[in-house]
Symmetry: C4
Subunit: 247 residues, 4 copies
């Protein structure tokens, strides 16, 4: 296996104007949004990315079949052609983050991507009833449009910058002539957070003009909030699907 291996599932994978990145991270916010969109839009998988910068681990599917940890590229070929970057893990090493981000951008270039949206969470350490969506961009000209779509730019939020693929795709895309916007849903950071994901999805829809039914995310958010309410009251929650989500 090469350090990073991109396996295209077709010779002609098609093209995409925008790339939406939703890898695991704080509150799994980005992952929730991107996987939800893939489901709703019935996007098709076109590539798998393997790397020895991922944990040395296999994932067991519901059928008992184990497969290597990986990232995946899905494509949606509607009016707006969208590529999605999702997966099990991010890099386990600092250098691996840089090398994978460059590989993701190679994939984006091959698909003809002009604009990147990286989705993530912004952990604040306490429960948030009305989560904001924070943003950062790779060119100042993009800011006004993002604010119009409902996201905020606040000095020192997040403090210290943005770590991992969400950040590096912004930092490394400019030199390839791509626009990039990071959207971060405010979240406690302790739990998978479909409420924060729902907020990010709304901003993303406004920015891209792509509407997807958010009701499934809303249902999950309501379930999660009911679980939290029970936890807060000291009850033990049942074996609920919402808590089995990660994994």
């Amino acid at each position: 296996m090469d350090d990073i291996e991109v396996r295209w599932l077709k010779e002609e994978p098609g093209s995409a104007e925008i790339l939406i990145k939703g890898l695991p991270g704080i509150g799994h916010v980005g992952k929730l949004v991107a996987e939800h969109m893939i489901d709703e839009l019935r996007a098709e998988k076109v590539a798998e990315i393997y790397s020895l910068h991922f944990p040395p681990q296999v994932i067991i599917g519901p059928d008992g079949v184990a497969r290597l940890a990986r990232n995946e590229i899905f494509l949606h070929g509607g009016k707006k052609r969208i590529a999605f970057l999702v997966g099990d893990y991010q890099s386990v090493s600092p250098e691996g983050h840089y090398l994978l981000a460059e590989a993701f951008l190679d994939v984006a270039e091959r698909l003809g991507v002009r604009q990147i949206f990286t989705l993530g969470g912004y952990g604040v350490g306490h429960l948030v009833s009305e989560p904001r969506v924070l943003s950062a961009v790779n060119r100042e000209e993009l800011r006004a449009g993002v604010e119009d779509a409902g996201a905020e730019f606040n000095r020192d939020e997040p403090p210290g910058g943005i770590i991992g693929a969400s950040g590096l795709l912004l930092g490394l895309s400019l030199r390839r002539g791509m626009d990039a916007v990071c959207l971060m849903g405010e979240t406690s950071g302790y739990l998978v957070d479909p409420r924060a994901a729902s907020g990010v999805l709304a901003v993303l829809s406004a920015l891209t003009g792509v509407e997807v039914d958010a009701s499934q995310l809303e249902t999950r958010a309501a379930e999660m909030e009911s679980i939290i309410a029970k936890l807060t009251e000291g009850e033990k929650p049942g074996d609920d699907d919402a808590l089995r989500y990660i994994g």
Copy 2:
């Protein structure tokens, strides 16, 4: 020394249909089974594997002679030709796990291996009186046979997948056209566990048709249980061989 160095002890090492992997891990379950089979079948060592991905350490033999940490390949040339992969350590780095797993598969290819069994433990954090054998496979078609042999497939067991060589040999072997089955003996995870090993051996025998006398493993398991019983009652166990096993 190269990053990974395979030293064949003969020019014509022979061949094997199946490879059984039993490296150190949870409860040393896989190691116990593979080393027990090597002893009982009087398998012959055909290769040593050295690597700077192993700990920078030598092992001192009972004769006072120090040798590099290593992995080893043994061959049993009976009706069923079996290769065994055993050793002192697994990789100390994430990337090293991937690189060593590929090197193990190169060895398997050279020997003509068609099927791989990776053996390990599944730590549950408490003592288990009747340990199950959990499994994962690299092709769904293998599942029914493994279930018939007495192993179970359970959703989310182990949660998070399988780490290290046991997992990666499953994930990386499919692309080489080899079948692979992981068998994990349920164990507390706190102690060397010959009882769990005994369970894994039974499933493995049913799957491969290779019978080995399990009485030595059973004796060790009984010794270990007697030690645990004494520990539970607060007695100090004697200087028993069973506790000196690791190392």
Copy 3:
């Protein structure tokens, strides 16, 4: 991106006799001095250094624009031509420190630098009312001049030597025929310390003959001392600019 990438902003960046290094470190002493000099002398940025040895992270500017973590080279073209090395981070790995230090020296050679000053803090673990400036050099002949300028050389201070770029630039520059002096401001190690920075600046001015107005550093030092006084008395300090400095 290469492992280390030096981006010159002009084809003819100019030249410098001396290089002053002020990267983040203990009490941010070196960073405070170098950035203060860059401001006061209106030095011009001539190069940016990117590396996968820096944290995999972007920094968000006050305009909401994210950029890769980086180091920077500024040039001041007065009577004394000075290059400054400043930046967001040092290497996250031991080897990266060595590789980046060599890259910094390549930059210094290209600029014609003959003498290097590395600035840092020397953490003593308690508040210091009259901080000393400790020093180390890469040639014994440099010592007398540094002592005349007000710095001290004390056996076992700092104990264990000097870690990171401040140290390695001394250790690696001799073989390139450059003189190098490390100046370390005594500091608690717990807080950003403009008082220690002010002391280092005074010694550096005496050594280089370059005078800069220190009043802004003095103001910051006074603010910081007032905050510490309040903290010591148990009051909560206000949302003061001085505490927002890092980041």
Copy 4:
């Protein structure tokens, strides 16, 4: 700088029959013995070894001059020609240990070394009044001679083998046709231990036929024991040279 850089100080460094390795480690036992022998025999430095596998750090000499962390080769040209390997640090990474050990053996080969003695400490976690010297060898034939010289071979001592250069030089030297003996002085592991060093020196003298005056080591041992006695009685020891030794 290369990954590992051996700087020979002369074109014809001479030759040596044996190499004695005394790098920092448990109780600094090996370092104490090797540096004591270098002093007593007035051995001459012939090479310096630099590496980015050492900590990214400079050491400040008593003259205030900083130099890179390094290892050194000294040569003693008496009846018995001896090379010494000493230095500030061992590798900070597992792979670096392997790579440096190979580099040390390259140096040994160039000098014509036929036998290696690696010196270290064996930490037992409590004060030892009459420290033993434990040993391991790289060929069983060497064992009897080492026992005659006063060292012991005990099963499971040290448990888990020997880590770092002391171990790897044994493991890697056999394939180069060199004999190797590791001598480990029993020590608490908490303090620099000249008493353990004295025991190792006695065995080493018996093995090599090289006698050096041990009185300085004995004096240090007595000083250290007097300090420990005071510590045990709860007194604060004075600013004694013996405690300033490390660093």
